[in-house]
Symmetry: C2
Subunit: 369 residues, 2 copies
């Protein structure tokens, strides 16, 4: 067993704070990600929260501030279950690092994307009980984990616009895949904001605040922003750049993973594709010639409107070396940029360029004849 109950072959980017992603093959062909394979993205040490003493505070621009124990949350509000994908904004950063270095940021592969069944209550129901006042436009989340990777150290937090907070799909979750939320995933309670970057799904939630402005927390105002290529991320003012929220269309090839040579001939290529918020994946193309010609993969229906979609295509793998390229199209007709160079940004977020993987076959290639 790996750290924090993770599978042995989890790819650890950092032990402290714990940051790890499953290998591609662990995600392949599984619509739901087992908790032992689910990626972990943390900014500080996993806090030890005493669930008995823990209370959720709901305040700010509300008529009736609330202080709720976990039992009170369970008793006062209807329990809901939702299958939702969570994707880190740093997913596929490794591709950007091949263009230009990004100091201090981990080289995430496509494994910073996972899907679980979440159990909890609707944030909308809790906010309705508190009575959100006119003037509130955002709902902020605060947590006790403190990141020492930032100078000075900063607690984690963030916010979403009120319209998203009361949309019905946003959960305050205490359950993951039919079991209590593990400590490393935010126990006793975390937010799940389906369709948005993982950073908004705040773990170890303590405090919900209805407010007029977006959160001024470091991880909302400074980090998780797409800066222009020539910006210095250490010298940008809060509020600079594109604040990431809903996730743009993206995809990854999961199997084969290129690690071992394959026999030439019919080979099933599989992976995931994902588009956040109200968009779904409409098509997935695979190319064996770098994008000159494409074939369409079979695309699974998503288990809920808030998840990735897996896909598969059997191709005739020629002998030798082949670069397999995949690109997705979403329901607005948008597709992915061709190259990581085109989306490179100083913090290395939101790499949704075409995915590519290099496969080799066993036996002599055509060049060896």
């Amino acid at each position: 067993m790996g750290p924090w109950g993770k599978r042995d072959d989890i790819l650890v980017h950092r032990c402290e704070p714990f940051n790890a992603e499953p290998p591609r093959h662990a995600l392949a062909r599984h619509t739901l990600t087992g908790t032992e394979s689910f990626y972990s993205r943390n900014h500080g040490p996993v806090p030890r929260v005493d669930a008995e003493a823990w209370r959720l505070r709901v305040d700010g621009l509300v008529d009736r501030p609330l202080t709720l124990s976990l039992n009170e949350l369970r008793e006062r509000f209807e329990e809901r279950e939702l299958v939702a994908t969570v994707q880190c904004a740093g997913n596929r950063r490794a591709g950007l690092l091949e263009v230009r270095d990004i100091p201090g940021e981990d080289p995430w592969g496509p494994g910073a994307t996972s899907t679980a069944r979440w159990t909890g209550v609707r944030l909308a129901d809790v906010l309705a009980a508190a009575g959100v006042r006119s003037g509130a436009r955002h709902v902020a989340f605060a947590a006790p984990d403190v990141s020492r990777l930032v100078d000075p150290p900063q607690p984690f937090g963030g916010s979403v616009p009120l319209a998203k907070a009361i949309s019905g799909e946003v959960l305050l979750a205490w359950g993951m895949n039919g079991r209590p939320l593990p400590e490393a995933h935010g126990a006793p309670l975390r937010v799940i904001v389906p369709g948005w970057i993982g950073a908004r799904s705040v773990k170890w939630l303590e405090h919900v605040t209805a407010q007029a402005e977006p959160s001024d927390n470091y991880f909302q105002a400074v980090a998780y922003r797409v800066l222009p290529p020539d910006a210095d991320p250490d010298r940008t003012a809060p509020g600079t750049g594109i604040s990431l929220g809903p996730v743009a269309v993206n995809c990854a090839i999961l199997a084969p993973d290129g690690g071992t040579p394959l026999p030439p001939g019919p080979t099933e290529i599989t992976g995931y594709a994902y588009a956040g918020e109200d968009r779904t994946v409409a098509r997935l193309d695979v190319s064996l010639d770098g994008g000159r010609t494409w074939a369409q993969a079979e695309l699974d229906a998503p288990p809920s409107p808030w998840t990735w979609q897996h896909w598969r295509l059997t191709v005739d793998l020629p002998a030798g070396e082949t670069v397999v390229t995949a690109r997705a199209w979403d329901s607005t007709g948008a597709t992915q940029p061709e190259t990581p160079a085109a989306v490179w940004n100083p913090k290395g977020y939101a790499n949704n360029s075409w995915d590519r993987i290099r496969l080799r076959t066993t036996g002599p290639g055509p060049d060896a004849r």
Copy 2:
């Protein structure tokens, strides 16, 4: 004056049906497009509708089918005004034609995008008066214009999902830029579906139907779909491909338009950028070196959540020839694909690759020295 009250220098793709777009300079620096400059995209002859005899029928899965004269519409429902951009799905097809021919489709430039102030009533209010029944999932629009470019000839129509139809921003409009809707733009009444491709903003509206399924009209079920590059558009079954709806992030350079040589030195580059539905434009980049380095343009606030945003940047234009490239980023962190080859599709829709324009300077270039 050009045909149908359009400006003299309107670029006419076809006289019958009338299809024309304004030159780039006519859109440049104007947040609102004058009606004489607004693009015209028609599939059949402009129908002559007798406004006195005209009635709007509202039926299908409703409790109270309605038949409404224009006066009844005006009297029964609250008048609304909205500034909204309309963009044809064929906008910027000319860029795709440089990759590969698209027989039978017009070579639209970036002028198939225009913005007007629309006056009318909310479709939501009319549907509420009719009482939409459970089971309705889509709202279809039918019109009397018949396209003879299709074999057999087909009347124009389409549909949007019920959630969009009742969203509040969808209007049944009789006014354009403070005057009655002109005949060529759909008098007496047209739909305006902000944030969606222009084809859903059905002109000369006669019939609104609440129904379980999307419209089976040719222009919804067969046309206005992104097909795979290798598909034969004349042989695809209805329902094939990605049905276009909300508009993906896009941009265009409007001035200078490359038509005449410019003096080298400081030069203001201007254009528009647009992202449909709930997305806004978050950043606009300009490059003078083909995308190696970028500078950020100043971006106007949109006059409503449903419009394009104009942008400008003063660059130091070197002597000789310069290709200016522009790309936009939307509020999800999505940006445009690099090349038209990457988005080429058999009907030539939704070209949202980087925009490029070639500028030449007066006097000798560096090569001439």
